[in-house]
């Protein structure tokens, strides 16, 4: 089954990106495909390469980059939401790409399921 995930909140402040990541990992372990993870609202903040969390804590941004690399997952950040919040190509973390909101709609059409993670 192809899953699409929508992440509406940024790292650390809300649990949403954690839940989404753990869901994605479990889905992959079960042999499902993650069609795309789309980041909207403050979710775009999952994509900045400038974060520096404490060393004994999970590195949320890097975790997404690693998941994308290992499994070929498409991590998409909404351009309009990103521009509002200062996420641009120059500070974009590895594995993410900036694209239009249409990619979210397309995920809804192409994936078998779309799950929303937010506040």
């Amino acid at each position: 089954m192809k899953f699409g995930l929508l992440v509406n909140e940024g790292p650390y402040t809300h649990q949403a990106p954690d839940t989404a990541y753990l869901f994605a990992r479990a889905a992959l372990e079960k042999g499902h495909e993650i069609y795309r993870v789309f980041f909207y609202n403050d979710g775009v903040n999952n994509a900045t390469k400038l974060t520096e969390p404490p060393l004994d804590d999970r590195h949320i941004v890097n975790r997404w980059s690693k998941l994308a690399e290992e499994h070929g997952i498409d991590l998409v950040v909404c351009v309009a939401a990103a521009l509002r919040r200062g996420i641009r190509d120059e500070n974009l973390a590895k594995g993410f790409r900036i694209s239009g909101l249409g990619q979210l709609v397309e995920t809804g059409i192409q994936a078998d399921r779309l799950v929303v993670f937010g506040d």
Binding site: M1, F3, Q15, A16, A26, R113, L114, F117, G118, D119
Partner: protein, 99 residues
């Protein structure tokens, strides 16, 4: 269909609204702070017990453990892990996250 609630019933009305709209036979999954609604002894308990008569209620065990309430889970609520969460989503076309 699958209804997912993630906020505490004391913080937001999301659970209340979900229960008002959820049709009998659908599934409710409590995650993140909403797992407090799965614990015995608080003001939300009777509401959840009532809901469990017409809905199948699940709670995400890792979230209960994180909050130190796993042993307080209301019997009748099935505890699942992230794999179980994935299975629930796979089983239902319509999935609504009540944020």
């Amino acid at each position: 269909m699958l209804h997912i609630v993630n906020k505490s019933p004391f913080e937001k009305t999301s659970l209340e609204t979900c229960l008002r709209l959820a049709r009998p036979g659908s599934v409710l999954l409590l995650i993140e702070d909403a797992v407090y609604a799965a614990a015995r002894g608080n003001a939300a308990e009777s509401k959840i017990r009532q809901a469990a008569r017409t809905l199948k209620v699940y709670a995400l065990s890792p979230d209960l453990e994180a909050r130190g309430i796993r042993d307080k889970a209301i019997d009748g609520i099935e505890l699942i892990d992230y794999g179980g969460f994935v299975d629930l989503v796979a089983e239902h076309t319509a999935v609504q996250s009540w944020l």
